[in-house]
Amino acid sequence: MVVNVAIAEDNDAVASDDELALIEALCVGLPLDPRPYKVLASRLGMTELEVISSLESLIGRGIIRRLGVVVQHRRLGYTANAMVVWDIPDEMVDEIGKRMGEVDFVTLCYQRPRRAPDWPYNLFCMVHGSKRETVLKQVQNLADELGIDDISNEILFSSRQFKQRGARYKNGRKQ
């Protein structure tokens, strides 16, 4: 299964209302019941088989990127968590973003708006590691590999986690 930016822009990648209801029901996690899909089905007025085939379809269309265990990095010893922000020239951000998003130790890679004068950075990526030095080395390698070591960046390590859980939606619908 390959999910990529191209698929994300396809019409096929729009979820129906029933599918959105299923995604919402999954927000708090798959029930820890021997028949978890049946539990979801009974909440939604669907059959177990319909839940399973909807999930297959959502995954196949790239709307659900993955179904499975969502680990808490910190609890597993990955305490060095860096958000690295870069000021990439607009005409290069597409190419650099795509290449950065493919690097194996990069766990998120987003383009976001600049906010002058406080915030000049338009490309964000996340790197997790057990030690700060490892993460710093990885960031240096990343800059070297992508040829952006002369581009201004900042590395923001997280020091305290106040809250982390999956998103919750109340009758959330794409607007």
Binding site: G29, R35, T107, P113, Q161, Q164, R165, A167
Partner: protein, 148 residues
Amino acid sequence: MFETDKKLLNDYQRDFPLVPRPYAEIGKSLGISEGEVIEDFTRYIENKTISRIGAVVKPGTIGVSTLAAMKVPQEKLIEIAKIVSSFDEVNHNYEREHSFNLWFVITAPNQTRLNDVLAEIENKTGTTPMSLPMERDFHLDLGFKLKW
């Protein structure tokens, strides 16, 4: 950590079995019972090793979200972080080492509610959040490879 724990945590981050009894199927491949698999996952959730078994959804599929940052005086950080975390719409909230030292993600059903939450946070904390909504997503989330 036991071998079974490592496998349960690393190998089932994606392609979770889509069969009527997924925990039984996982147990079968690891040589343990369905009940033990459910017990183990329950324990990981209780001790916060995992947040859930869930679906990671393409951004923008459902609701709207933004990453927001604030500059907060150090002595007020805990108090203000608590206010921010108290919103149901805030699902991540971190201190980071920077003059923008509080970073959080807001997810809401629509843009109106998202703007309201930003305004309420500003009212309650006296600090204006800088909102940085995602414009493009370049990453393909395949889960996080754990190295033991």
